[in-house]
């Protein structure tokens, strides 16, 4: 089995997780910028975080021969402070040419507030101006449906944005169709409680097809499972799906989406 982990917050994980992911067949890991569990006190905190994502973390992964890529932004959980968010967004362009940066993400909404929406639009503007791909976080639980609708409206309002170069993550049964019908890619996050279980993710694949869907663990400092993607692959096999289908979902699809960024290259074999 081979797979790509397209959404994992490895700065929150121990090195043993890299070893386990490699053992399970991981061919690359992609790390969107996110909330640290506490609010950073200044833009310098983000500068250091972006250095960690673009310098230190790829070197840590490389010790296991694992290619590490990242996405940069200020997470919507810290977007309520518009002044701070704008100062952080101003830092991002200097990092965009670094070899492991795939684009802008994970941007989006958290509580669906006006300030969060304003900062989402600033990120979309940044991505459009620099011709960057986008990875979108959709809100949690009761806020997801409304937030997904607001995010789709914001993305569709900017005609420079090509939906094929945008993935909207954390979809569930009530949001996946909205995302796919609008032409975007959709990501399913495998969490024990608050997002998709493996069985539900396979349900969604069976109902909506595997054309523009990927799976990720979004493992971070909270309850999450770094091997959730290969576990979901086992669930697909239990449900009678063949090896080619599984390979397409967990390797081929992320490869197809991410390869739209010329920097996303994997070693042969």
């Amino acid at each position: 089995m081979r797979y790509i982990e397209p959404h994992a917050h490895m700065v929150s994980r121990v090195t043993d997780d890299y070893r386990d992911m490699l053992t399970a067949g991981c061919a690359a890991v992609c790390e969107p910028a996110f909330w640290a569990g506490f609010d950073r006190s200044s833009p310098r905190g983000f500068y250091d975080y972006f250095c960690q994502l673009t310098d230190y973390e790829p070197r840590r992964a490389a010790k296991f021969g694992l290619p590490h890529f990242c996405w940069l932004c200020i997470n919507p959980k810290e977007a309520e402070d518009v002044k701070l968010a704008e100062e952080v967004i101003a830092l991002i362009p200097q990092f965009l040419e670094r070899p492991n940066v795939l684009g802008i993400g994970e941007i989006g909404l958290n509580k669906n507030s006006r300030n969060e929406l304003q900062i989402l639009e600033r990120h979309v503007e940044l991505a459009a101006r620099h011709d960057q791909m986008i990875l979108v976080h959709t809100p949690h639980l009761e806020d997801k449906l409304k937030g997904t609708k607001l995010i789709l409206d914001a993305l569709k309002a900017d005609k420079r944005i090509n939906p094929e170069r945008v993935i909207i993550d954390h979809v569930e049964e009530h949001t996946v169709k909205l995302v796919l019908d609008a032409g975007f890619w959709a990501g399913m996050t495998l969490y024990p409680e608050t997002k998709c279980t493996a069985a539900r993710a396979v349900d969604i694949l069976e109902c909506y097809g595997a054309e523009r869907l990927w799976l990720n663990s979004a493992c971070d400092w909270g309850q999450s499972v770094p091997l959730a993607v290969p576990y979901a692959a086992l669930e697909m096999r239990r449900r009678g799906h063949g090896r080619e289908f599984v390979d397409r979902v967990i390797y081929g699809n992320p490869l197809r989406f991410l390869s739209q960024c010329p920097k996303f290259k994997l070693a042969e074999g």
Binding site: W35, K77, E80, N110, K111, N112, S113, R114, N115, E116, L117, P139, H140, L141, E142, D143, K144, L145, K146, K149, L150, E172, E173, H174, A199, R200, D203, R238, R239, G240
Partner: protein
């Protein structure tokens, strides 16, 4: 997969979760004090399980979701609680 195969694969797991839900509600019944809006939201979502036609998951998720469309004035918390208080 056939219905028989799906039952073989998932029945015991679903049965266990169903009993967990029953035990959760019994536990709340035994407890003292007032419940907040989440209990009513939970019971309303349970009603969606009676639907036919393969739309239960979508209906449960929508039942627990904020149905409004306007951004809120400001985020006063970062966390989501799993149910929308506006239905209460």
């Amino acid at each position: 997969m056939t219905r028989q195969q799906l039952l073989d694969l998932y029945f015991l797991e679903a049965r266990a979760r169903l009993i967990d839900v029953a035990a959760f509600l019994d536990r709340l019944d035994r407890a003292e004090g007032k419940a907040d809006f989440r209990l009513e939201a939970f019971k309303r979502a349970l009603g969606e399980l009676q639907r036919e036609g393969g739309e239960r998951t979508d209906a449960v998720l929508r039942s627990l979701s904020d149905p409004t469309l306007e951004p809120i004035p400001a985020a006063t918390t970062k966390a989501a609680c799993g149910a929308w208080p506006g239905h209460a």
